[in-house]
């Protein structure tokens, strides 16, 4: 075991392999506040990669309702129980911008829990039985009610649920990669995408057991395991539509509610995904306490109870929700980039515009400027150009009654 630095946990932790971050890491930001669970992302992935024999139960991308849903059923509850040692605390007094932006987590990661329990495995985990992979929509839209006869209130609803959209997080320290005794899982150096080598896999299902997010899945027909491949041909730029430019994955591009932005996490603060995650900290990782450093980040839902959200996204939740409720000028501009193009945006630029609106939100002043936001591709070419306010067209009087 070597010591690697996990910036989500704000400390070093044990991992079987040396720290080796890719030059740019496949990452995405999801805005939970806008998801309507239309499942278009789920079907986009399904119809591209998992529609075949033996993959009927596989949903590499899925959207589940919290608190009662989960695919596979109760995956997060079961894994959280396995790492629970009674001391899962975040120490948030001392934060470091780069090394521990959320504070320090003093509980056990899945790797540390396995070492403590002496189970002679790389990480704690369990294999969900086939019946747990059924009914991916279980618990959909089922609300958790604290009081039977209260109306919803703000900011936290007493009757609540929200959707969480999940795919393989292409973690920096994947549980699946650590678990495989044959090194059949590898993380690519060029973009950090984690893949299962289909020739090398022998269907041991250690990855299925030890991924805390349960995204590697066993395929009965071929007797080997498969997982989300991050649509790597598109991310490499081999789809003819974008003419050689890296393109966002199927699930990201298909999002009807425009909640997803996929890009690469790198060192450029003008990279929208990097800015949202590292600089603005508006987007938070999913269950960072597992210790795998997942690379899909979420803007938490503003109406759900904070303790539940803090367990799910870490201690940065309160700040993130405050920032989302009253967005700054730059934040609003970056959020406007979501789903405006299929090609991956590597850099953005804001051209300032006139102030068009002003109000108070929850006691804070909010000003709306109609800025123009420009997104650039890898080669510096302009990919998209949009404004904060949607342009309004007024129809000719003779078309008033047209549809």
């Amino acid at each position: 075991m070597t010591l690697v630095h996990n910036w989500h946990l704000g400390r070093r932790m044990e991992y079987p392999y040396f720290e080796s971050r890719p030059k740019r890491q496949f990452a995405a930001v999801f805005n939970i506040n806008r998801c309507i669970a239309c499942q278009t992302c789920t079907m986009a992935c399904k119809s591209a990669w998992t529609y075949n024999k033996g993959q009927e139960h596989m949903w590499w991308n899925n959207v589940e309702t919290k608190p009662y849903g989960g695919y596979p059923q109760s995956w997060d509850i079961k894994t959280l129980k396995l790492i629970d040692n009674g001391e899962n605390t975040w120490y948030t007094d001392e934060k470091d911008e780069k090394l521990s932006p959320y504070g320090v987590y003093e509980g056990d990661t899945i790797f540390e829990a396995a070492a403590k329990k002496n189970i002679n495995q790389w990480a704690v985990g369990y294999i969900p039985e086939d019946k747990e992979w059924r009914s991916p929509n279980i618990g959909e839209d089922v609300a958790k009610s604290n009081k039977a006869d209260e109306y919803s209130s703000l900011p936290e609803h007493s009757r609540w649920f929200f959707y969480i959209q999940r795919l393989c997080n292409h973690c920096t320290y994947p549980g699946c990669l650590a678990a495989c005794p044959r090194k059949a899982i590898y993380k690519r150096k060029e973009d950090g995408i984690v893949l299962i080598d289909q020739k090398r896999c022998r269907g041991y299902r250690k990855c299925v057991e030890q991924c805390p997010y349960k995204k590697p899945m066993f395929r009965g027909l071929t007797r080997v395991s498969e997982k989300c491949i991050a649509c790597y041909p598109r991310v490499e730029g081999r789809d003819p539509i974008t003419k050689g430019r890296p393109m966002e994955t199927r699930c990201m591009a298909a999002c009807v509610g425009q909640i997803r932005l996929q890009g690469f996490l790198d060192d450029n603060p003008k990279n929208p995904v990097t800015w949202l995650i590292k600089h603005d900290k508006l987007a938070l990782p999913l269950y960072p306490q597992f210790g795998t450093e997942p690379n899909i980040y979420y803007i938490p839902p503003r109406w759900a109870p904070r303790p539940y959200l803090r367990q799910m996204f870490g201690p940065g939740v309160d700040e993130a929700i405050d920032k989302f409720m009253v967005p700054s000028r730059e934040r609003l501009a970056v959020m406007s980039l979501f789903r405006m193009a299929q090609a991956i945006i590597f850099e953005y630029k804001i051209e300032e515009g006139p102030k068009v609106f002003e109000t108070m939100i929850h006691g804070k002043k909010f000003e709306l400027y109609n800025d123009t936001v420009i997104g650039f591709g890898e080669d510096g070419q302009e990919i998209l150009r949009t404004t904060i306010e949607e342009p309004i067209h007024i129809r000719d009087p003779k078309h008033y009654n047209s549809i």
């Binding site: 086939d130 005794p181 090398r200 071929t222």
Partner: protein, 324 residues
């Protein structure tokens, strides 16, 4: 006197460093993470020798355990003690504690018969939580001397010390019996509905979908032997050079048959004594070799390192062919 003292002062630090360095190098035979070190006993082969008897036999029309049973009458059985695998992650096994092996050859083919007790018969790995029963024999590739002085790990071989493994699988046996020689998902879930089954249109209408199975089955398209239909055999031929290096051979040479009754598995693995494959162990009548064994109990979720192993090499000698 002073000069010598000052020289000593100058040299003392590097001298001390050299002492510590050599001490560390001597002590540091550190195994990789997740792997524990091994004792001298493991590098000593067992005393009991498996004698591969020469018998004259008519190769039966059907190669099955029943027909071959008679050929093993003169072979002396060797008892192999098995224990849980506890050196390399993931640890596991321990449910099968012994097995019996007999071997014969007829100058052309060698037959190894292995029997062991297993209360459950696990011959399918289609559901995610089901694992197969399996047994494997491991031979060192080439002629070797195995003593505590000449380390040859009885666990998956070592770097630069390759081994040849014959891995029989219960589900490969079941695969041979179905049309297409690969059990499809329907045998596990007989009433399942999917685009391939529940449609009123003809196969021709769905031809692109049906032919896509070949291309979009990752394992099949990557030529992973585990995913292929039509393997025509129940034993896999592999090589290994240490933990995590197990690799299927390009050319498969071993076959086998099995029988399960009353909680006892009987597996016969057979192969030509000499093969053309340089990655195969060559067995010569009159010569000797070593072998080791591992057994997987699917009912206990045994797979990969979670297996029941013997921790020492077992010597084997092949009887010379008696020319009539």
């Amino acid at each position: 006197m002073n000069k010598r003292f000052s020289l000593f002062k100058v040299l003392s630090i590097p001298l001390l460093g050299a002492v510590f360095l050599s001490a560390t190098l001597f002590a540091a035979e550190e195994p990789a993470p997740g792997v524990k070190g091994m004792s001298d006993e493991e590098f000593t082969p067992t005393k009991e020798v498996l004698e591969v008897k020469y018998v004259q036999m008519d190769k039966p029309y059907h190669m099955d355990v029943e027909s071959l049973k008679g050929s093993f009458n003169d072979a002396k059985p060797v008892n192999i003690t098995l224990q849980k695998q506890d050196k390399a992650f993931p640890n596991g096994g321990g449910s099968v504690t012994s097995s019996e092996v007999k071997a014969v050859h007829d100058g052309i083919t060698v037959y190894f018969q292995i029997t062991w007790k297993d209360p459950t018969r696990n011959a399918r790995t289609i559901a995610v939580q089901e694992f197969r029963d399996a047994v494997a024999l491991m031979f060192p590739l080439g002629a070797v001397e195995i003593t505590p002085a000449e380390h040859f790990s009885p666990r998956m071989g070592d770097r630069e010390k390759p081994t040849n493994l014959w891995h029989w699988k219960a589900d490969w046996e079941a695969d041979l019996l179905v049309k297409g020689e690969l059990e499809d998902v329907e045998v596990q879930y007989p009433n399942m509905h999917d685009d391939f089954n529940f449609n009123p249109y003809s196969a021709y209408y769905h031809r692109e979908l049906i032919t896509s199975v070949e291309v979009l089955s990752g394992g099949r398209a990557a030529n992973n032997l585990l995913s292929q239909p039509g393997r025509g055999r129940t034993v896999e031929d592999l090589n290994a050079e240490g933990f995590g290096t197990l690799t299927t051979q390009d050319h498969q040479d071993v076959n086998g048959c099995s029988h399960y009754e009353d909680g006892v598995w009987t597996v016969i693995m057979y192969r030509s004594l000499i093969t053309q494959d340089p990655h195969d162990v060559q067995l010569v009548p009159g010569g000797n070799t070593f072998f080791n064994m591992a057994i997987w109990n699917g009912g206990e979720q045994d797979r990969n390192g979670q297996k029941n192993i013997s921790t020492q090499w077992h010597p084997a000698t092949l009887e010379k062919v008696a020319w009539q």
